[in-house]
């Protein structure tokens, strides 16, 4: 079984600053630490229909004083896992963010556009990202995936190349599905 460290994103992904990647990874680590010991867990990746198991390790050596809000753990932790999957497992080495009303849009590319590229947000792979700490009767992984597909369907990205990427932290599972 393959072993990955969450910090691989720091090497693989361009676009966000190192500080952003570290902060998101720390949120993911806080979420994982709620349910798993020794900073590692067996995780199931379901990437575009292909299921694999792996050992995921993370760094838990940081102050968690400001990382108490569960909603933020799930949200930022979900972003960290999406960045990891796209850059480490799928070779999308670049992500561009843009501001929307209640958060941020994420667009991935396999290569970083040139600094002089004026149309640098064209030709991207759009990803709807989400995270769930643990499932409940009304908040399931499957439900969230469906919900994220519906969000893409409602938006203009329905005709573009896009995916949903959702992580469940308790029984660790990350699902990436291409939106069709």
């Amino acid at each position: 079984m393959e072993t990955y460290h969450l910090d691989l994103t720091k090497v693989k992904l361009k676009g966000p600053t190192q500080e952003q990647i570290v902060t998101c990874n720390q949120w993911a680590a806080t979420a994982f630490d709620k349910y798993h010991n020794n900073s590692k867990a067996e995780i199931e990746f379901s990437i575009d229909g292909l299921d694999t198991k792996a050992i995921l390790e993370w760094d838990s050596n940081f102050s968690k004083a400001a990382m108490k809000e569960k909603k933020d753990m799930a949200n930022h932790g979900g972003v960290a896992m999406a960045w990891f999957v796209m850059s480490v497992l799928k070779e999308f080495n670049y992500v561009e963010q843009s501001e929307i009303g209640d958060g941020v849009d994420y667009r991935f590319k396999t290569e970083e556009p040139d600094d002089d590229d004026l149309n640098f947000l064209d030709d991207f792979h759009y990803v709807e990202i989400s995270g769930i700490l643990e499932e409940s009767k009304t908040n399931t992984l499957q439900g969230r995936i469906k919900d994220k597909h519906a969000q893409i369907k409602r938006g203009y990205k329905k005709d573009k190349d896009s995916s949903v990427l959702v992580t469940l932290f308790k029984t660790p599972r990350t699902v990436k599905e291409i939106h069709k």
Binding site: T23, K71, E99, D115, K137, R144, R154, K157
Partner: protein, 441 residues
């Protein structure tokens, strides 16, 4: 100019601003959002005269509009919103810019730091919101819902929600006895749903409770306060109340708690409310209407307190000043006296006794709701069959209720070409009367 690099710098400031906001450091968040907005505005203006650079142009203009709102720079935000609305062809971005415009108008008169804080607070509240819709039960006035219905809904919803919150707080604070009034008052202050969006016609609105840790708030209470509406919505409001659900509720809550939580809710979900309540499911975005609470469920849930007619007449509060004079004589002066204004409870009925017909024995006991209102008098109702009667005298109100109930049953049994409502009533009557055929005329 290298717009990509400036945009990335802006997004980094925005990321840091969100972190500062989540750590309740509003001054730093405001400062960082301003830096992000200034940079993104430069980039957005660069794209104004470059229509060939889509989709980057529209995405950056939207980004600049929202960053300026988050920074409280409302006039600057409007410049990008209007430009985007006139020039972008992307329907989703247009929709989002229309939302931004709505926000910009409502924040327009505030100072920038106040507007920034307000927007960021409401954005987080919106993420936590439950989205409801109230529609009229019949379409006499189209889909517009009356203010009376909204008032009735919000009164009952608040009563039920607060009762739920009190029972949750009791568990956290480990209070087993009755809660002191001062604590109830404190909890009621904490549980105060805020309207985070609304739309007219059929009344659509979203609500969330405050989630910020205020000075003196206990951490565990903040946790309940922040999530109370979502918990209530999933655990109570949308509970289908199957037999198993009711058993679980009765196990988790005391009889009194169940009464306090579910009696107001039964009012909202009764068969004769003039409105129906829906919500938007967060899993599939579909509008779902909440199921009705029928008499059978009510019987299993609600514990009936036996209160007699005489008890009601005697309920009053008074403030009396007592003074002992010389020789042991006591004088009393009533300073304030108030008779009860309203009361509500259920009675169990197993026989309908109309004035001019033979009594009708029911095959199962039903719960009849009795309300007393000092302005109207006594009202007896059985929502499942939409039967009710009001009178200023208790006995007359009950007698009239029996007559109306009997008349309804006869009407349903003898309906020649039953409409949809009569067919629904027929399915209820069949369960209440052993031999309905005997009442055919």
């Amino acid at each position: 100019m290298k717009p990509k690099l400036i945009h990335q710098e802006a997004m980094d400031y925005s990321f840091k601003a969100r972190q500062a906001f989540e750590q309740d450091n509003y001054t730093l968040a405001f400062d960082l959002f301003n830096k992000a907005a200034d940079l993104e505005s430069q980039v957005a203006k660069f794209y104004f005269d470059k229509p060939e650079l889509e989709p980057t142009r529209s995405i950056i203009i939207r980004s600049a509009a929202f960053l300026n709102i988050k920074a409280g720079q409302i006039e600057q935000a409007k410049e990008f919103i209007f430009f985007g609305l006139l020039n972008t062809k992307d329907t989703l971005i247009k929709e989002q810019l229309n939302n931004a415009l709505e926000l910009a108008v409502s924040l327009g008169n505030m100072a920038p730091n106040e507007a920034s804080r307000e927007f960021n607070y409401i954005s987080l509240l919106r993420q936590r919101s439950i989205h409801y819709v109230i529609e009229p039960a019949n379409l006499s006035f189209g889909h517009s819902v009356s203010l009376e219905s909204i008032k009735e809904f919000s009164e009952s919803y608040l009563k039920s929600l607060k009762a739920f919150a009190i029972s949750k707080f009791k568990r956290v604070l480990k209070i087993e006895d009755e809660v002191e009034q001062s604590i109830i008052n404190e909890i009621e202050k904490l549980v105060n749903p805020l309207v985070t969006s609304s739309a007219y016609g059929s009344f659509k609105f979203s609500i969330a409770n405050d989630f910020l840790e205020r000075p003196g708030d206990k951490r565990e209470l903040v946790e309940i306060k922040a999530n109370v509406i979502s918990k209530y919505h999933h655990e109570i409001f949308t509970n289908p109340l199957s037999d198993d659900d009711i058993l679980a509720i009765k196990k988790d809550y005391t009889d009194e708690e169940v009464n306090d939580i579910f009696r107001p809710l039964a009012k909202i979900k009764s068969n004769n409310t003039p409105y129906k309540v829906g919500y938007y499911d967060t899993d599939d975005f579909n509008k779902k209407f909440v199921s009705k609470i029928v008499n059978k469920q009510k019987q299993k849930l609600i514990t009936v307190k036996q209160i007699t007619q005489e008890d009601i007449g005697e309920l009053e509060s008074s403030l009396v000043h007592k003074r002992s004079g010389k020789g042991g004589r006591t004088s009393k002066q009533v300073i304030f006296k108030e008779q009860i204004k309203s009361a509500e409870y259920e009675i169990k009925v197993s026989e309908i006794s109309p004035k001019d017909d033979k009594p009708l024995l029911l095959s199962e006991e039903i719960m009849v709701n009795m309300t007393f209102d000092s302005n109207k008098g006594f009202t007896f109702s059985f929502p499942d069959l939409n039967v009710q009667n009001t009178d200023i005298a208790y006995n007359k109100a009950l007698e009239g209720f029996y007559n109306t109930f009997y008349g309804k049953i006869i009407g349903v049994i003898n309906a020649k070409e039953p409409n949809e409502e009569e067919q629904r009533d027929w399915s209820i009557v069949k369960k209440l009367i052993t031999n309905p055929e005997a009442l055919k005329k």
